[in-house]
Amino acid sequence: MSLRIVVTVKYVPDATGDRHFADDLTLDREDVDGLLSELDEYAVEQALQIAEAADDAEVTVLTVGPEDAKDALRKALSMGADKAVHVEDDDLHGTDALGTSLVLAKAIEETGYDLVISGMASTDGTMGVVPALLAERLGVPQVTLLSQVSVEGGVVRGRRDGDSASEELEASLPAVVSVTDQSGEARYPSFKGIMAAKKKPVKSLDLDDLGIDADEVGLAGAWSAVDSATERPARTAGTIVKDEGEGGKQLAEFLAGQKFI
């Protein structure tokens, strides 16, 4: 029995670029280059490791996004995923996390799955809620924020390092897993992998295929609204001193002046 793994990935604007809002207060994507969210590379890596440890497994990468989001899928395919699913639809522009989780859940059900693996958060929105939302919508256990994960005999186990404790978790498949950047370095695509990726299938789906109405997603279907976005005023230039033997004392003087000491 084949283990079907679906990895959800996101095509995100490069955080080192200059990000702005468009007139509709969504992210202006015209100005910024995109890439596969770095945190999703860890999810792809863990999916590949779980697949390699299984007798028979298939890894599908799934994304929701514009045409350019295919770049994120290609990267994951060149790392070693078997196939890709791209949900693309003009009506998706401005979709919030709740809407995204709805689209992903429908696409995951359509694809068929035993295990869903996500990154801990996207590097753009950084909400970190989509894995939990997927578990809620799919009605399967959530085993999230794992720094270690393994799958054996239809059971997923993992370690979750929380603020106050580390927990060892266990759930039966099907399940939704998310992994942190402590789960293990993601592999680099080999030249062979990059060439092979060009021949791997990328299936396109739109909202009709998933039975989702346009008014359930997009900016109009979002259940929250941004009323205003203001650029943070540039910090006024601070005092910068060069240490010539008294730098620590000068800093102490500043901190005392600010009543921190």
Binding site: R157, R160, D163, L169, S224, G238, T239, D243, L251
Partner: protein, 320 residues
């Protein structure tokens, strides 16, 4: 006045500071009703009442500790049904965001995460967020259902004010999903005696320039002189010099203290995303061109191995 649910973050009855901050914010939009679950939940009632909770809904079922996240969602949903609140506020911890998100789907509501302020507006509750590595400030509203909002620590002052704090048993019917993810074991993090990173008023961080795990002792000594938490950049964590739980930045924790002192940290955008909303920023770095100096209120261009011990000694001397 409308009631506002506040989900209580506590460890065996000891309420964590971000929850007390939520009570301050909740009072701006209604009467706070606290929801406390798990072992020791009843013991939270006094301190919640002292910070304005009008009611405290309590459930101490074993499920909250034995299974991950979902039992807490079931409890909050039960409270939502019992109270019909004007808003639901949850702390922006990783778990808090997961609980809030699942609740939002269940009750058909929009969600806003990582708010840094919450106020009453003409069209409902308005949440302020800091986005794009804190380069923009946005004001947002929930347009569908009950506003479910998670709030970052250090976003509001803790204000003691007497509330009735009537303790009531919360009846929770656990869903089929509640027992899906078993917690096989739980190892509490060993206490360093220092404040929790996200809650601390002062954070002292070390980065690549600290150059070795053993050298973090001088960062810790400075932190201790100020009663501060210790943070680390991703470079320092990836090098194995300091635990990941102390990482400040995009893939670590986001902090917003009164004072942030960056030592040997260049200030890559990923790090800035996690600390740029700090009120006062100080940096010590050898490289005068380091981008961190664009953010600082006070910067020292110099060797941290000379500057930091001198600073620590001076602080300890001044404290007497």
């Amino acid at each position: 006045m409308a009631e506002v649910l506040v989900f209580v973050d506590h460890v065996d009855g000891a309420v964590r500071k971000p929850t007390l901050e939520l009570l301050t914010l909740a009072r701006r939009i209604g009467d706070p009703v606290a929801v406390a679950v798990g072992a020791g939940a009843s013991a939270t009632a006094d301190v919640l009442a002292e910070h304005g909770a009008v009611r405290v809904l309590v459930s101490e079922a074993a499920e909250f500790a034995d299974y991950l996240v979902v039992p807490k969602v079931d409890a909050l949903q039960a409270a939502h049904q019992a109270v019909s609140p004007a808003a639901v506020l949850v702390s922006s911890s990783a778990e808090g965001k997961e609980i809030a998100a699942r609740l939002a789907v269940r009750v058909g509501s929009g969600i806003i995460t990582d708010a840094v302020d919450v106020e009453a507006g003409a069209e409902g509750v308005v949440a302020t967020q800091s986005v794009f590595a804190a380069s923009f400030t946005t004001k947002s509203r929930i347009t569908h259902g009950t506003p479910v909002i998670t709030v970052k620590p250090n976003s509001a002052p803790v204000e003691p004010v007497a509330g009735a704090g009537a303790v009531e048993e919360l009846a929770v019917e656990f869903s089929a999903a509640a027992t899906g993810t078993k917690v096989l074991s739980r190892t509490p993090r060993e206490s360093t005696g220092r404040p929790e990173l996200t809650e601390a008023a002062i954070v002292v961080s070390g980065g690549r320039g600290v150059n070795g795990a053993e050298n973090f002792a001088i960062i810790e000594a400075l932190a201790d002189s100020l009663g501060a938490a210790v943070g680390a950049s991703r470079a320092a964590v990836d090098a194995g010099w300091y635990p990941h739980t102390n990482q400040v930045g995009q893939t670590g924790k986001s902090v917003s203290p009164q004072l942030y002192i960056a030592n040997g940290i260049s200030g890559a955008i990923q790090h800035r995303a996690g600390m740029q909303t700090s009120k006062t920023i100080v940096a010590v770095n050898k490289d005068a061109e380091a981008p961190i100096f664009d953010l600082v209120d006070y910067g020292v261009v110099g060797d941290l191995f000379a500057v930091v011990p001198q600073l620590t000694e001076e602080i300890n001397t001044r404290k007497g």
